[in-house]
Amino acid sequence: MSCILETQGLCKAFGAVTAAKDVNVRIRPGEVVGVIGSNGAGKTTFINMVTGYLKPSSGQVLFNGQSIIGRTPRAITRLGMARSFQVAQLFPQLSVMDNLLIAVAAAQNPFPSLLAPMRTAARVALADAMLAQFDIARWRDTQVTAVPQGVRKLIDIAMALIGEPQMLLLDEPTSGVSAEEKTALMDTVMRVVAERRVTVLFVEHDMDVVRRYVSRILAFYSGEVLADGVPEQVLANPRVQEFVTGSQKVHQRVAL
């Protein structure tokens, strides 16, 4: 059956370090896939390669069956694959509304017009709708620097979704968010992506969060896919427990 995203023998080496070794992944439309793995396992590298920020040393990436190797992130975004970031990538000096308006304008026209004003009623309506959907409308006119972390992550994702992507890659959506907020935040995000029928692949450290939303897990270890399957099965896998979830707890202890 058809895949929305498929990688074939994806490899990436930074000098001596291998960040990805023969990664073969096939994602079907409508799936919600979780990617787990300790730090440096190559999760973010994977996303960066798929979205064109990094060029793989070798291998192939197919989006809806067409190769997107060597394309710029903007080209890939326009094809319908959007992403969010570990650290929310926003325009700090601008208001939340302006952030979204820029996203709308960018999505609507690859060649921005020089004199027509960016802020049109139509665009504002679109942005407002998005804010409402994530219910963060009350932050509408605040400067981003004054907005709490959790909300920033939501804005980051909202901006990614404004272009109506078919697929969304979430890079640690809950990182930098306090444990209490996590579930609330993820509920919102998952509600919205479900409403928009977007295929989702998200990187996450917190196993409870992963269990709660995904239909399938990819476990990364030192650039390789250790296991791929339904959550129970993957999390039961001894090697996963040894290298991923286990080291995960250690990692968290270290971090504290």
Partner: protein, 314 residues
């Protein structure tokens, strides 16, 4: 085209200024003309500052505009002001479209240094070319406008009214540009270029358009400078000149399209009195002014109008 309040106010101020020119003493009229000519170059600097790029070579386009006007007057015997300015802007745009391909690859200090290098190369070429009077430069022929040429001694006032008109139009256009998608995209690039890329927009394309547009505006200033001063020399492309434009840009701030105009006028007045009152240490006064602005008004004189000074500092 419908004008919003800000634009109406800009045009109103311009009208007042033009009217003031009729009663103001001649030297003041001339001083304002020069200040406005410079302010156009400063607009070019500010356009790039909004995109997070500081150029130490905007003198390049200032100079190209000036020389294109002067040379078309000398070698092509063109005296029509409008035509001359169009030629000046055209020349600058062509050059910018070429250099822009390279410049848009650079950011931060490297952009600053490379822009400086290019304007210094032009400076070198002009110093070498004795046909253009080398460092002495040459005098620009008197101008006419659509067949009408101003009476003896009336040229400065006429030019003042023209430049005020041009500045008014420019102000409205730039005001719209700053609110347009492209203008906002520049700010977005300054804030976070990677994100802009991931929104499906090409930062380099936006910066390229911005660079060329800035060059055109600056060249217009250069052309007016040539016509009002009546003389041009390679000094226009020297890095100190470009530094002065950055100076004025910071003085005004990037918050509003009117800021560079006000800053240029304030600068001209401060400098001329500094030179008159303390001929031996006027640079020092400029230096302290600049430091004071940076420390107390990080967003420039304009923050006095909006009361942002404190907020910006915090």
């Amino acid at each position: 085209m419908r004008l919003n309040r800000t634009e109406l106010i800009l045009l109103g101020v311009a009208l007042l200024l033009a009217a003031g020119g009729l009663i103001a003493p001649q030297w003041l009229v001339f001083l304002l003309t020069m200040a406005l000519a410079k302010s156009m170059v400063v607009q070019g600097v500010v356009m790039q500052m909004r995109a997070g790029l500081v150029t130490f070579g905007q003198g390049l386009y200032f100079c190209v505009g000036g020389y294109a006007v002067g040379m078309s007057g000398h070698f092509l015997d063109i005296s029509d002001l409008a035509l001359l300015l169009v030629i000046g802007v055209g020349a600058a745009v062509l050059l910018a479209m070429l250099l822009g391909l390279l410049m848009t690859r650079y950011r931060e200090i490297f952009f600053a240094m490379l822009s400086l290098a290019f304007s210094m190369i032009l400076y070198g070429v002009l110093v070498k070319s004795s046909a253009l009077g080398s460092t002495d430069g040459f005098n620009v022929k008197a101008w006419s406008l659509f067949g009408w040429s101003p009476a003896q001694g009336q040229a400065p006032l006429a030019l003042f009214i023209i430049i005020v008109g041009v500045c008014a139009v420019l102000a409205v256009l730039l005001h719209r540009y700053s609110r347009s998608s492209a203008g906002m995209m520049c700010e977005a690039i300054r804030e976070n270029e990677v994100r802009v890329e991931y929104l499906g927009q090409s930062p380099r394309w936006v910066l390229y358009m911005n660079y060329v547009a800035a060059a055109a505006v600056s060249a217009l200033g250069g052309g007016f400078m040539a016509l009002s001063a009546g003389h041009i020399d390679p000094e226009m492309a020297y890095w100190i000149t470009s530094g002065e434009f950055v100076f004025i840009a910071l003085l005004g701030g990037t918050a509003h399209v009117a800021a560079p105009f006000i800053a240029a006028i304030v600068f001209a007045v401060v400098r001329t009195y500094a030179i008159e009152l303390v001929p031996h240490s006027w640079q020092m006064i400029l230096g302290f002014t600049l430091l004071a602005i940076i420390v107390f008004l990080p967003k420039g004189l304009w923050s006095l109008f909006t009361g942002q000074a404190r907020r910006a500092k915090a």
